[in-house]
């Protein structure tokens, strides 16, 4: 039908990154805990806000809106900008 109106938020949760990030990382990052380098908020990676903006994904911190990462996959080339990731804590087997 039509594009959602402004009042309708359209972002997804960090969970939706599980597939795209699995192309790069062997461990599932969505279960990781992240501390934001900008605002200091601590939370699950899965709580990040994912905006599907053509041609890729833009991921923002729920605390301060900083761009945490950007991912573009185009014609066999993958761009991953981890500029705002902050500190991650992962459980590994």
């Amino acid at each position: 039908m039509t594009t959602p109106s402004v009042s309708e938020p359209s972002h997804l949760d960090g969970n939706a990154l599980a597939g795209p990030l699995s192309e790069v990382f062997r461990v599932d990052l969505t279960g990781a805990t992240r501390r934001c380098a900008v605002c200091g908020i601590t939370g699950a990676f899965a709580e990040l806000r994912v905006y599907a903006e053509c041609p890729g994904l833009v991921v923002r911190c729920p605390g301060c809106d900083t761009v945490v990462l950007r991912l573009v996959h185009e014609g066999g080339v993958l761009w991953l900008d981890l500029g705002g990731t902050g500190c991650l804590r992962l459980r590994v087997k």
Partner: protein, 245 residues
């Protein structure tokens, strides 16, 4: 590895509503999955154009068989194919199981509040089915917001007291049209209803909220307003689509 695309064959399908259906997919060497996880589905057109979307797993795996339930989004790229075209024997590609956060494990004794809007019922149904299969004892309260009786997924199974469903309560919140005999007028799921049919914050339940983004936003806010610890509220936004609640 989860990142690998693998072939999946449509083994069966059944309608859930006039606009949604469950697909049973056969995926050789499926490693099993947790309730709440999803897969990415990739379709490739004859000219090589690909489109991929995420779909929650609707049930525990049975050997190599997994299930997804898809709501048709008018003019969508992927969902109309899965709901109306894909047939037994057809092949698609999937990767998964995906996601390690929006998951429920049957050995977790904490009580659980599930809040679903529209197609958001899918991963929560996986939790209900996993609980039943494991005969798990965790208290479950499910609040399911849906437009009308015709839009009700899993209607013969959900809320009909299956063996193993003791300790599961289901509250249906019809938003547009209620079935006969239901006294609640059709309206949006209210804060007071989440309070009454959920669980008190003192019991420290884990809350899973799933559905279209706008629905998830308001339901999660309501849980916070009722005093639930935001760290125990897990959300899965389906985007603008996923079926209106």
């Amino acid at each position: 590895m989860a990142g690998r695309w693998r072939a999946a064959t449509v083994a069966a399908h059944r309608p859930e509503t006039p606009t949604a259906r469950t697909l049973v997919l056969r995926v050789p060497d499926w490693p099993g999955h947790l309730a709440g996880q999803h897969v990415d589905v990739r379709l490739t057109a004859e000219d090589g154009y690909t489109a991929q979307r995420s779909y929650s797993l609707a049930a525990p795996a049975v050997g190599d068989l997994i299930e997804v339930t898809v709501q048709r989004v008018p003019d969508g790229e992927v969902s109309p194919y899965l709901v109306e075209v894909a047939d037994v024997g057809d092949q698609i590609e999937i990767r998964g199981p995906l996601g390690g956060w929006f998951v429920w494990r049957p050995d977790d004794p904490a009580p659980v509040v599930l809040v679903a809007g529209g197609a958001g019922i899918v991963p929560l149904m996986s939790m209900v089915r996993t609980r039943r299969m494991a005969r798990a004892k965790a208290l479950f309260r499910l609040l399911y917001s849906l437009r009308s009786p015709a839009e009700r997924y899993y209607s013969t199974e959900l809320g009909s007291h299956q063996a193993g469903d003791g300790g599961l309560d289901v509250f249906l919140a019809y938003t547009r049209e209620a079935p006969e005999g239901v006294t609640r007028p059709p309206q949006r799921l209210a804060l007071s209803e989440i309070n009454t049919h959920g669980l008190p914050p003192d019991s420290a339940p884990t809350c899973f909220v799933c559905g279209p983004t706008g629905f998830v936003e308001s339901a999660a806010n309501a849980l916070v307003a009722l005093g639930h610890d935001p760290r125990r509220i897990k959300t899965e936004r389906f985007g603008p689509s996923g079926g209106r609640p």
